[in-house]
């Protein structure tokens, strides 16, 4: 039975022992308003949870890479990579996916959920098929990152306010648009990460092109992709003898 706090309970007039829920031993009791809601969550029973075979293999493979795989009760190192696997498979960290992962890892679902909710890139609510992260941190902001985010919101119908605070889905639910902190590509400012690949420097008009390309399933702005960029200083042949006569790698 779940203990219930009496409805006329007034903490201002209560005696210390009134804070202890009736019928519960003291060490299991909680303070006012936070009564235990039943049994602690259990590690999912492999006999009860159905896990797709390929998913199980994928997860087990990752767990086995870490030295703590044999630690009794705490083989947790793989938590983040495993949540990545769940997210890649189901689009986001779905409750069902988390239970399956927890079952293979033999940890509680709540544990994985607490990890997922800590990290910005792991999503605990549905996200679109595509993600656009627009950097609005210092360097990008100086070069127009806010306006770029505006343009993405205008084009997709995502809510600008929500996009600036964790992300917002486009009107059709296909694209997640989110303002983001520095993505480590300030040389491309203002830039965006589109489906985990970097593009920049972008003009406001590029937002519309990118969204159209995503919807048509085309390659996104190839000429502005990070991977196509050379070094900022161009090709430079060293003349310094310490460099040219070096005995290490990069000879």
């Amino acid at each position: 039975m779940t203990p219930v706090m009496p409805s006329d309970f007034d903490p201002r007039n209560a005696e210390p022992e009134d804070f202890i829920s009736p019928g519960l031993p003291v060490d299991e009791a909680n303070t006012t308003g936070r009564l235990p809601i039943g049994d602690p969550e259990q590690i999912p029973d492999p006999a009860e949870v159905e896990v797709p075979e390929d998913l199980r293999e994928q997860i087990q493979q990752v767990v086995d890479k870490y030295p703590d795989k044999d630690h009794k009760g705490s083989p947790k190192s793989a938590a983040i990579p495993v949540l990545w696997i769940v997210q890649r498979r189901y689009g986001w960290c779905t409750p069902a996916g988390i239970v399956q992962a927890a079952c293979v890892m033999q940890v509680t679902p709540a544990y994985l959920e607490s990890v997922a909710s800590f990290y910005d890139l792991l999503r605990t609510s549905p996200q679109g098929e595509h993600q656009v992260l627009v950097c609005t941190n210092l360097a990008c902001w100086m070069r127009g990152g806010d306006q770029l985010l505006d343009s993405f919101c205008e084009k997709t119908g995502a809510d600008r306010e929500a996009a600036g605070h964790g992300g917002s889905l486009s009107e059709d639910g296909n694209i997640l648009v989110s303002g983001f902190e520095c993505l480590g590509a300030c040389d491309l400012a203002p830039m965006a990460s589109v489906d985990e690949r970097y593009f920049g420097p972008l003009e406001n008009g590029d937002a519309s092109t990118i969204v159209d390309q995503l919807e048509a399933g085309e390659e996104v702005l190839p000429e502005k992709a990070l991977e196509k960029r050379g070094l900022a200083g161009g090709v430079a042949e060293s003349t310094d003898p310490r460099v040219t006569e070096g005995k290490g790698p990069n000879r």
Binding site: M142, D240, R242, V243, G248, N250
Partner: protein, 469 residues
């Protein structure tokens, strides 16, 4: 104009370099073979210490010393390469991993060999998906070639290397939070001591170094400490990949000897300010370094010179602001970032970042008074040195430097925004509330009471829109 001194980025424009065959064609993995065959681990540790190589991830601590701190026991020891690179302004590790992943891997293997480490990790930020894929491929190649795994090249030395992707949290770059994240927990910093070198990952001795630090290792082992010391200054030997961004013509990564002048970096290599603009301030070492002004442009770019100027070299990332950038809003952006990334474990950081952001918001909407600037400064003083990790300080230092050095601009912003808000609130009114309206004691211009204006403003009305920060 100065030239780059490319050691780590040499031949990096060649796409071949990202593959094992390409790296080997430029002499890659030769040092490793030699080291495993004929070099004593102690010699490597000594040479690293002697070279004076300082950590490239922020704190600038001697890499060789850190290695020598690891106990010489048979306990399982670990190496974690810090590739989290989430400090605003920093993007050098991205370039190094993308263009030359094997240089990093070779550095990791040699460092592990020197310190008797059997398990190594590269903790890469989740956003760097492309680079993580590149590393995954490179690690696979290295396993196939026998440079990783058990009994490497028949030497009896074994090493496992795992590429571990993070999932978006700046705090995971802090070394002890990184360990927690690697252990599969929420990334919260730990109390130090014990330092990771003594008790780190899974409680074992752990060496944590930045990507660039480790990328230097094979060069030092191949050429010796004296060769390394011939670059840079006495206290800052070597070359440094410097990320320059913000309001400059050619933002990007430039590898230079430490000790070149800031002017050469910002005006020379990065091309100087954009047409028609002037530089007003810059962060010399990422967003957590106190800002410098053009008056300090001729300082040498070295750990010691930046510290003497009251700032720091940090990760080696220069963010340049010009006259189009509002310094108070820049301070607000900075505070906003740290407020968002604070893990919340300690009060001065959690509350301090939150209130600093709120107060700066008030500055930028004209609701603050000049006295609030003193309060902002005192809050920063109370954060510094009072937190578990240095994330709190990382906000306090730049914010307080901006308030101190650009106080006039803060005061002007307050005055300007306040008058805008005042006239804005007049525009928004259709009817003047009279004396008998609630709260309408003293009518202001146009019969509007100051109290009414204040309420309008508090309710978010009559404040110019579009200042969404």
């Amino acid at each position: 104009m100065i030239e780059e001194t490319r050691v780590l980025l040499r031949h990096a424009e060649d796409p071949k370099m990202a593959t094992l065959a390409g790296y080997e064609s430029y002499g890659g993995y030769e040092v490793l073979k030699k080291a495993l065959k004929e070099i004593e681990p102690e010699w490597i540790v000594n040479e690293l210490e002697d070279s004076g190589l300082r950590g490239r991830g922020g704190a600038g601590f001697s890499m060789g010393k850190k290695v020598s701190f690891l106990p010489h026991t048979d306990d399982a020891k670990y190496l974690c390469c810090n590739a989290d690179e989430s400090e605003p302004g920093a993007f050098k590790d991205r370039e190094l991993m993308q263009r030359n992943p094997h240089q990093l891997i070779e550095g990791i293997i040699i460092s592990s060999f020197a310190a008797g480490i059997g398990h190594a990790f590269i903790f890469i930020r989740g956003e760097y998906d492309d680079q993580a894929d590149i590393l995954d491929r490179a690690v696979e190649e290295a396993y196939e070639a026998g440079y990783l795994g058990t009994n490497i090249l028949g030497s009896g030395f074994s090493l496992e290397l795992v590429v571990h992707r993070g999932a978006g949290a700046y705090i995971c770059g802090e070394e002890t939070a990184l360990l927690d994240a690697l252990e599969g927990k929420r990334g919260n910093p730990r109390l130090k001591p014990p330092f990771p070198a003594v008790q780190g990952l899974y409680g074992g001795p752990t060496l944590i170094n930045n990507v660039e630090t480790l990328s230097n290792v094979s060069h030092i082992v191949a050429n010796g400490a004296d060769w390394f010391k011939s670059f840079g200054t006495e206290q800052s030997p070597g070359t440094k990949v410097v990320s320059v961004s913000g309001c400059v013509k050619r933002p990007g990564n430039y590898e230079v000897e430490l000790g070149v002048s800031l002017r050469d970096l910002i005006y020379g290599l990065a091309g100087g300010p954009l047409e028609g603009h002037e530089i007003t301030a810059f962060y010399p070492g990422g967003s957590s370094s106190p800002v410098l002004t053009p008056a300090e442009m001729d300082l040498p770019y070295s750990f010691e010179a930046m510290a003497d100027a009251g700032s720091m070299l940090g990760s080696g990332s220069i963010i340049v602001a010009d006259d189009s950038v509002s310094i108070p809003r820049m301070a607000l952006r900075t505070a906003h970032f740290y407020r968002h990334e604070s893990c919340g474990k300690c009060t001065p950081c959690r509350e301090g970042t939150n209130w600093t952001e709120k107060m700066l918001e008030r500055v930028c909407t004209g609701e603050a008074t000049p006295m609030d600037l003193d309060i902002i400064s005192s809050v920063q003083d109370n954060i510094m040195g009072h937190c578990l990790c240095v994330l709190g300080d990382a906000m306090a230092m730049p914010v307080s430097s901006m308030v101190n050095k650009f106080r006039d601009e803060f005061e002007e912003t307050i005055a300007e925004e306040a008058s805008k808000a005042w006239s804005g609130s007049l525009d928004g009114l259709t009817e003047s509330p009279g004396r008998d309206e609630p709260g309408g004691e003293e009518p202001g211009p146009g019969g509007v009471s100051p109290e009414h204006v204040r309420r309008q403003r508090l309710a978010g009305r009559g404040v110019p829109a579009g200042e969404d920060v």
